[in-house]
Symmetry: C2
Subunit: 159 residues, 2 copies
């Protein structure tokens, strides 16, 4: 395995680790539990799940892989704080969307070559990318993994 593949594997392993930890945490909760707050006065579990789905789904667009599946989550789960929008999907729906979103992203990632991963993502210009080659798709995945770990740390406080 060359160094490039090794590094891609490292980044994917870290991503999968936190996806699995978060999935295991959710599997241990009832739909009713998903409506609980992570701590008094803080975000609800369901909000953080919707938030993660939306942010992860945005990689489809950043990676130039066609239309997003959960762009309709952005308003309630990214642009607005929890409880601002009352009409959000039921806990059972969000639980299922979390699984579907992970499956879709896993399928997408498995088709990507090393050149794809080290290519620029859609929110950086060609000029900037020439100067800052670290602003590639793999870097987005690394940042999203840290973002996921950040919220996973909050989620498990609800235990």
């Amino acid at each position: 395995m060359d160094k490039q593949q090794v590094f891609i594997q490292m980044a994917l392993n870290a991503w999968n680790t936190y996806i699995q930890r978060t999935s295991k945490f959710i599997d241990g909760l009832s739909d009713e539990d998903l409506l609980r707050e992570i701590a008094p006065g803080k975000n609800r579990i369901i909000y953080l799940l919707g938030h993660l789905i939306a942010i992860h789904d945005n990689m489809i667009s950043l990676f130039n892989q066609g239309n997003r599946s959960y762009a309709h989550f952005d308003e309630a789960f990214v642009l607005k704080p929890d409880r601002t929008i009352q009409d959000i999907p039921a806990a059972s729906v969000i639980r299922n969307d979390w699984k579907k979103s992970n499956e879709q992203l896993t399928a997408l990632f498995s088709k990507m070559s090393a050149d794809d991963w080290f290519g620029r993502h859609n929110s950086v210009s060609q000029e900037d990318f020439a100067k800052e080659p670290e602003r590639n798709k793999l870097n987005v995945l690394i940042n999203r993994t840290n973002h996921l770990a950040y919220h996973y740390g909050q989620l498990i406080l609800a235990k």
Copy 2:
């Protein structure tokens, strides 16, 4: 910049980002604040800081760079839960140790070559490393960054 240097830079950027976020968070708190819990009945801020210092400091040993500076933190901040050991350093001391530890690690990382980063760390055998080359020092840094992001997500709930 060759690809190897690009991904070392990506991993270091992610590490520095979360170190800076955590430092900024601490700088905004008084020593008295550091004794607060992140949420009712959960770990205190001071415990999580001591925990991060100890876990980060352990990279010195994993990277075969000599003696650790904060091995004496392991008992109170890693092996035991918060409040089990009463005799922990004062908040002002932990605050200063956080800075010193980061400076020491930054100096260490800056001296490491690409070959160092992709070499095996001290808790994997030569045999296992031949089969799993992703178990290298850079992978440890990526995992520690996710661990840091995980606890940073908890720390900022104390706001």
